[in-house]
């Protein structure tokens, strides 16, 4: 047992020494992903980490209220509108604001699609788009050319 | 009465391996069909917006109904204290569990969104008899499982009778529930009838017993175990009564439906029309499923304790299949009265004016149904191999001596 402990202590020291060199973050397949910012209102929750973790909780909670009780949030004025339509409308676009389709011509899922990019990376299937439209409608105004997705 | 010894099947014979391969193949077909339909949607089935429940449901309902009927033999032994049947109780209970598993699997795999199945338990709609049925199935597994356990574990002998009674009551509720899936369809003239519940129970008696007889005779024949004629004759007499009772209920059902003006069109089309359902009803249900089996069982002849009983049981299953086909699909096939009894629809793009809706099942549906059947018998086969369900001998001399005089 004492051997193990020694090994760990040694490892930790090594870690501290090498932590500087491992600092540079690597580019994963996600690193390439860009999406435009939309003019005016900020996104519902301006916290990428929070949305990455809990987007389904926000969506599922509100979808029950919308579908079953008829609670709809004004698409333009309400900031806490988690309708999937609104998500898609801003996010499923390329840098020029053009809609990005979820499925490529061959029927294969498009890893460039905003939702699919992460889901593709983490191999989690999406159930939403068997019913919901995954393509934006209308137009959005783009202010910044593109924003690198922060790691 | 000798103490009954139970022994597993050895499971090494060629016939065993052949059957195992056959049933596994059937189950694999079912799985293939499921994954195909899950991918392509129900577009590749013969079901449509008129015939919304098709062949898979016929298979599923028949297996589920047969499941509760197969438990009958165990109930007669335990609840009604008929000693002759007690050695059959384990086979009976295991067969019923297997049949229910096969049926429920088919029912579930036919769903449009099988991956939403968890909502069945998390958002339960208490006004839906279907939702109640979904609770009744696990309950049946639980009660029958406990019952089986009390039979096999001698230390739990004290609970044997109460467990058997509970399973018996549960199975009656279960089959009533299955019948009421159709009996409570207020909008469909062809279903909506209280008699559906008892009719399903009586049908379960006959088809469940038929499945039991086939299983018993085939198993004992192939494993070279003795199976006495006295026992078979008792089963034969039971089968006669059940076939007759099921037929009686069917007659009353069709009679009342025919007598009511609301459903007379539908009934006269079913009984005297030119569709496949009429043929299935008369040739399948009446001739093959009722008259021939009754003749086989009742006309005195040599060797009646073997071939005749087995054939009759097979025919009863075929007949019951036809009956459910007509009940489930035939009733949907006749255009529904959508406006009111004072109006007749003469033109519609949605088939309301058709003489009847045509249903031609695809091979996927057949495969799904056969998959359920395959799974059932795979479970039966391996259950017999792994567990001590089968009495070593069911020869007359080894059974309850009082049975002979009774």
């Amino acid at each position: 047992m004492s051997k193990l402990i020694k090994l760990f202590l040694f490892s930790t020291l090594l870690a501290l020494a090498s932590s500087v060199s491992t600092e540079s973050a690597k580019e994963t397949s996600l690193g390439k992903l860009t999406y435009p910012a939309v003019q005016g209102k900020r996104c519902v929750i301006n916290d990428t980490m929070e949305m990455r973790k809990n987007h389904m909780n926000y969506i599922t909670h509100q979808r029950a209220e919308t579908t079953r009780l008829g609670k709809r949030w004004n698409k333009k004025t309400h900031k806490n509108n988690f309708s999937i339509e609104k998500c898609i409308n801003c996010h499923a676009r390329d840098e020029k604001g053009k809609p990005v389709k979820l499925k490529l011509g061959s029927g294969k899922l498009n890893a460039e699609h905003f939702c699919q990019s992460c889901h593709n990376y983490t191999a989690v299937t999406i159930d939403c788009f068997s019913c919901h439209s995954a393509t934006p409608t209308g137009k959005v105004k783009i202010i910044s050319k593109s924003k690198k997705k922060s790691k | 009465m000798k103490k009954v010894r139970y022994l597993e099947l050895e499971g090494k014979s060629a016939s065993f391996n052949f059957l195992a391969a056959l049933f596994a193949g059937m189950a694999a077909l079912g799985a293939w069909a499921f994954f195909h339909l899950e991918h392509s949607g129900h577009a590749d089935t013969g079901m449509n917006n008129q015939i919304v429940w098709g062949l898979p449901h016929v298979f599923a309902i028949m297996l589920i109904v047969a499941a509760s009927g197969a438990l009958n033999l165990a109930s007669i032994g335990t609840v009604f204290n008929k000693g002759l049947y007690k050695p059959l109780a384990r086979i009976s209970a295991w067969l019923s569990i297997s049949l229910l598993m096969g049926g429920v699997i088919v029912l579930v795999l036919d769903l449009g969104n099988p991956f939403h199945i968890d909502y069945m338990f998390t958002s339960f709609n208490e006004t839906s008899i279907f939702a109640w049925n979904i609770l009744l199935y696990p309950g049946f597994f639980l009660f029958t499982g406990i019952y089986l356990w009390t039979m096999m574990d001698t230390s739990k002998r004290n609970y044997y009778k109460s467990a058997g009674t509970a399973a018996f009551i549960w199975r009656l509720i279960l089959t009533s529930g299955t019948g009421l899936i159709f009996g409570l369809l207020v909008g469909r003239i062809g279903f909506n009838a209280a008699i559906m519940a008892p009719m399903f129970i009586v049908v379960s008696f006959s088809v469940g017993l038929a499945f039991f007889i086939i299983t018993l005779m085939a198993t004992y024949k192939w494993s070279n175990r003795p199976l006495g004629c006295v026992l078979l004759k008792r089963l034969k007499n039971l089968l006669v009564i059940f076939i007759a009772a099921a037929f009686y209920f069917a007659v009353i059902f069709h009679l009342t439906k025919y007598y009511s003006m609301a459903s007379q069109d539908l009934e006269s089309w079913l009984l005297f029309g030119d569709s496949v359902h009429t043929k299935l009803l008369w040739i399948g249900q009446v001739v093959i499923g009722t008259l021939i089996p009754l003749a086989l069982l009742l006309i005195p002849r040599v060797g009646e304790c073997n071939t005749a009983i087995f054939s009759a049981a097979v025919l009863v299953i075929i007949g019951t299949f036809c009956q459910f086909f007509v009940t489930i699909i035939g009733t949907q096939a006749f255009p529904q009265q959508v406006i009111g009894s004072d109006y007749q629809v003469i033109a519609s793009k949605f088939g309301d004016a058709d003489p009847y809706h045509v249903y031609s099942p695809s091979s996927w549906e057949v495969m799904l149904g056969l998959g359920g059947l395959g799974l059932t018998f795979l479970m039966v086969l391996y259950g017999f191999k792994i567990m001590r369900f089968l009495p070593e001998s069911l020869a007359d001399k080894d059974l309850d001596p009082h049975a002979k005089s009774a």
Partner: protein
Amino acid sequence: MSFLSVTYILLFYAATIILFVGVGRRIYKYAKTPAPLKIPTMPAPTTKVGVAARLTREVVFFESLFKANLWTWIFGWMFHASLLIAFFRHLRYVVNSDTFLIGPVIHWHLLQLAGQYTSFTLIIGLAGLLARRIFVDRVRYISAPSDYLMLLLIIGIGVTGALMTFVAHTDIVALKDFVIGLFTFSFSALPTSLLLLLHLGLVIVLMIIFPISKLLHAPGLFFSPTRNQVDNSREKRHIADWAKPLDETRGKS
């Protein structure tokens, strides 16, 4: 990169080395240990194919446990089957949606749905095994602290995993970056979530403990003479390797 991330990275490498070297050594030892006698549990298969089939049944269904003790089998099998599904579900941290595994090998959607619920069956199975050690007198008597430790350790892993699925989600994109980083030696920070740290910490402990614990029954099963021997003692004389020279000298004399 934080001190915590670096620690976990190093611990993972250390644990992996310990696990593979340790288990490898054990397997080598098992393989070298002679079986002096022909002792397959009867009835045993008489051919090598039969032995393979028997071992397969043993691995997949836990056949002998089924025959020995039904309760233990129910909980044990439930736990191991859930563990298998959990393993497949965790594959998403190393492969992406384009993997060849999806489709013909694994029905991903089914796996995700099943995986959520098997976290419960996993915990229930382990809880049953723990209850067995606590409440069955005969088993309690022979239970060593390490028996409890193993159960509690895996229960801990299961519970923290389930909590991350159902209560406090983890940023799995960042987690995957971390895991991929371990494989490609281009390191990413570990997302700081207490549950995740606990979960991974317990996994590391399990990996380290594995080669010196009863969990070695996993590879050990394949080397157990009662299971892996052919019942051919009449047809073929069985001589252990170390006995061969002795045997030869005896033959000559």
